[in-house]
């Protein structure tokens, strides 16, 4: 098999894996948009905040220690314990549920009935608030995230492909874990929305707020529920991305990777987020591989948006988005 073809296959596989990571971020956007029509600008910062909280709990960091020390002249930084990863993840998820409750109580509740743009602006404010709050709560230093996820080249794939093609493909173990986690997450979300009472209520709200309210579904409960789920998805995305680079404030920028995925897959479709992520992942990696070297490289960031725009021209609602039909 020609060498370039083998390389292209390897790039494609890695693109799929990268796409899964993009999809993980995009999922959070989709969940909130689907249930409430809000484009949650704060989703990237939620991933950062969730990861910061996880590491903080895991390492026994005292929240707001800088502030406490500055006000009271103390020198406290850490509790004398380390929390096991699984408990830390559960506690961090709990914090994200509390966060969802507070967002609903202090922001969304007061904006019911307001135009979408107002809700969008509120999430911009929320994003910047959370970034600053996360900084005060956990500090700005880079933190190493270790929840026991495997990293590095998968030797089995390397060996198998080497035996088959004479060239071993590189696939990162972390990406494989991310793909499995994403599959589990999507399956769980589908089962939840199809077969549970709360899931059906969530779908009802997504279809028609007024009709859902008229049959006694609590909009407030649904919003807390959906922001909690989005918070959990943000925690998963934060863990996957944070394991690669450490937890630091640039983590919030992963939201930029989700936007072309949403444009392509549609803002209201969970499968769309996954398929969109895969297409963007493969597309940008293949473009960088084939065309990048001829035009100076570093094409991934802008090419993802070009790809999404091309899809938008032909299908404005995205691949799986709901077609908007408004009758006058």
């Amino acid at each position: 098999m020609p060498e370039q073809l083998l390389f292209a296959m390897e790039v494609t596989l890695n693109g799929l894996m990268a796409g899964v990571l993009y999809a993980l971020v995009a999922l959070g956007f989709v969940l909130i948009f689907k249930a409430s029509g809000i484009f949650n600008y704060a989703q990237g910062v939620m991933a950062l905040f969730a990861a910061l909280t996880l590491v903080g709990i895991q390492q026994g960091q005292v929240p707001f220690s800088h502030l406490i020390n500055a006000v009271f002249g103390t020198e406290i930084h850490h509790f004398p314990w380390h929390v096991p990863s699984i408990i830390a993840i559960i506690l961090a998820a709990g914090v994200m549920v509390l966060f969802a409750y507070l967002v609903e109580k202090y922001i969304l509740q007061h904006l019911i009935g307001q135009p979408d743009i107002i809700l969008f602006m509120a999430t911009i404010g929320l994003a910047y608030f959370m970034e600053g709050f996360g900084d005060i709560m956990w500090g700005s230093e880079i933190k190493t995230l270790d929840v026991g996820l495997p990293q590095g080249m998968n030797l089995a794939i390397d060996e198998a492909t080497y035996n088959m093609f004479g060239y071993g493909f590189f696939i990162d173990n972390l990406d494989i874990v991310a793909a499995v986690v994403a599959a589990l997450l999507v399956t769980s979300l589908v089962i939840f929305s199809q077969y549970t009472k709360q899931g059906r209520a969530l779908r009802a709200v997504a279809d028609d707020h007024s009709a859902a309210l008229s049959v006694g579904i609590s909009l407030r409960f649904i919003w807390v529920l959906v922001w909690s789920i989005a918070g959990f998805v943000a925690l998963v995305a934060g863990i996957m991305w944070g394991a690669k680079s450490g937890v630091q404030f640039s983590l919030s920028l992963i939201a930029l990777k989700a936007l072309p995925v949403l444009m392509l897959g549609g803002f209201t479709s969970i499968p769309g987020a996954i398929i969109g992520g895969l297409i963007i992942g493969v597309g940008e990696q293949l473009f960088e591989f084939a065309i990048g070297p001829m035009i100076g490289g570093a094409t991934q960031n802008w090419f993802a948006y070009v790809l999404a725009l091309v899809f938008l021209i032909f299908r404005p609602q995205g691949l799986f988005g709901e077609k908007i039909i408004e009758r006058v």
Partner: protein
């Protein structure tokens, strides 16, 4: 009543007779927030802690207290310029913005405002030419020195010959990251190595394509010019594809403790160029611990002491403080202006004896700044990471960079700047 008037007059006379000395102000355009905070925090801490040390231990510089008021730039060029405009009226003596983008914007401003701009190891490399850049100083080394120092080291570990070797540059796709390309191209011609460039877009959170390319092309060595999250991801990706860490060398801005920590043990062996000492085994750090950290006056937690980027902040502050001291001597007054500070920077002399007196023996090179040369000696060493110990170690002596290649490039670039801006060369 008469006595009261007399007392008031006496106090007034005393106040007039004894001039009130304002602080020596060194604004710190820091970034403790945003995607580049991981590097900005230890640098800002080191910079602030050194001036606090001078105040607490020595009563300032020449009897005048110092201050390093911070202005948050978030590594954003526009905010950096705003910070400059907001602080220059506070009696600022010199600026050290820790950003090449901000540096480029400030060069014409500081020249017009007669305030020196100090950019050690970053900024506009050709500003080393003092004949053109009267107010910009980048001693003791610059980006092009770093590229040459890296190549020198790679040549040494290759048995003195790089002919036929492949060297890839992984760089932050910005003005900063592109700085060494020309130098490395020249060095590739001189030494006969094959040179390829691999850009990474801001912020560098995703580098899969770049490292797959490296895996395919199998360069013998990789040089990195990164900053922020790009460094951590690159080191992790290099470990993932099992690129030999000892063949991976970063510029000093890719050589922080926080850059290697997330990759854990896999980062052991990674190297970086440095223009100053590593670790905390210098008397000055004992003093910082005693007078600053233990006294509760540290800018941060005090746990960054000895870390690479913290040390760089301390070193930058020390060189500025020494330049201020020189300015006080030249002009015979402790209360110097920014113009006098510029003179002090241009007459700065760092000797071994002085470094020892400052509690930093051998921490950096000895050098003399002149009107022509604002860039210092351009020397540097190589540091290597040991994850188990959690420390960098110097694995080479401070050596020279290839000024035969670099000096003509400096002359060429600065001449172009002079022509564009109608600058008449000085120092005649």
């Amino acid at each position: 009543m008469k006595y009261t008037k007399l007392a008031a007059a006496s106090v007034t006379a005393l106040m007039v007779a004894t001039p009130v000395l304002a602080d020596l102000v060194f604004p710190s355009l820091s970034y403790r927030t945003g995607p580049y905070a991981a590097g900005g925090i230890p640098y800002a801490d080191g910079f602030a802690d050194y001036f606090t040390l001078l105040n607490e231990r020595d009563g300032g510089i020449g009897g005048v207290m110092t201050s390093a008021p911070e202005c948050e730039t978030a590594y954003n060029t526009e905010k950096g310029v705003e910070c400059y405009e907001a602080t220059k009226g506070q009696g600022a003596l010199a600026y050290n913005p820790l950003s090449t983008g901000i540096t480029y914007q400030l060069i014409p401003k500081v020249t017009a405002d007669d305030i020196p701009l100090y950019t050690p190891g970053y900024g506009r490399t050709s500003a080393a030419n003092g004949k053109v850049f009267s107010h910009v100083f980048n001693f003791p080394a610059n980006y092009w020195n770093a590229a040459s120092l890296a190549v020198n080291h790679l040549k040494e570990v290759s048995g003195g010959d790089l002919t036929g070797k492949k060297i890839a540059l992984v760089y932050h796709n910005s003005a900063y990251g592109k700085e060494p390309i020309r130098t490395l191209e020249e060095l590739s011609e001189k030494h006969g190595f094959e040179f390829t460039t691999i850009p990474v877009d801001h912020p560098g959170q995703e580098q899969k394509a770049q490292w797959l390319q490296i895996r395919r092309e199998r360069p013998d060595f990789v040089i990195m010019y990164g900053w922020g999250v790009m460094n951590q991801v690159a080191i992790q990706e290099a470990a993932n594809i099992r690129f030999p860490m000892e063949n991976f060398i970063g510029v000093w801005w890719s050589g922080g403790d926080h850059d290697v920590a997330p990759a854990g043990d896999a980062a052991t062996g990674y190297k970086a160029v440095t223009f100053h000492g590593v670790g905390s085994d210098y008397p000055v750090f004992d003093d910082i611990q005693k007078y600053v950290v233990d006294a509760g006056k540290a800018a941060g937690n005090g746990d960054n002491i000895g870390k690479a980027i913290y040390n760089r902040g301390v070193y930058a502050a020390m060189l500025l403080a020494e330049a201020a001291r020189t300015a006080q001597e030249i002009h015979g007054t402790p209360d110097i202006t920014s113009s006098m500070m510029r003179d002090g920077m241009e007459a700065l002399e760092i000797t071994e004896e002085r470094m020892a007196e400052l509690g930093m023996p051998g921490f950096g090179p000895t050098f003399t700044v002149t009107c022509e040369n604002h860039g210092g000696p351009g020397t540097g060493a190589i540091q290597q990471w040991d994850a188990a110990a959690g420390t960098w170690s110097l694995i080479s002596d401070y050596g020279p960079s290839d000024m035969e290649v670099i000096q003509p490039l400096i002359e060429e670039d600065s001449a172009a700047y002079a022509a564009e801006n109608n600058i008449e060369p000085r120092c005649n």
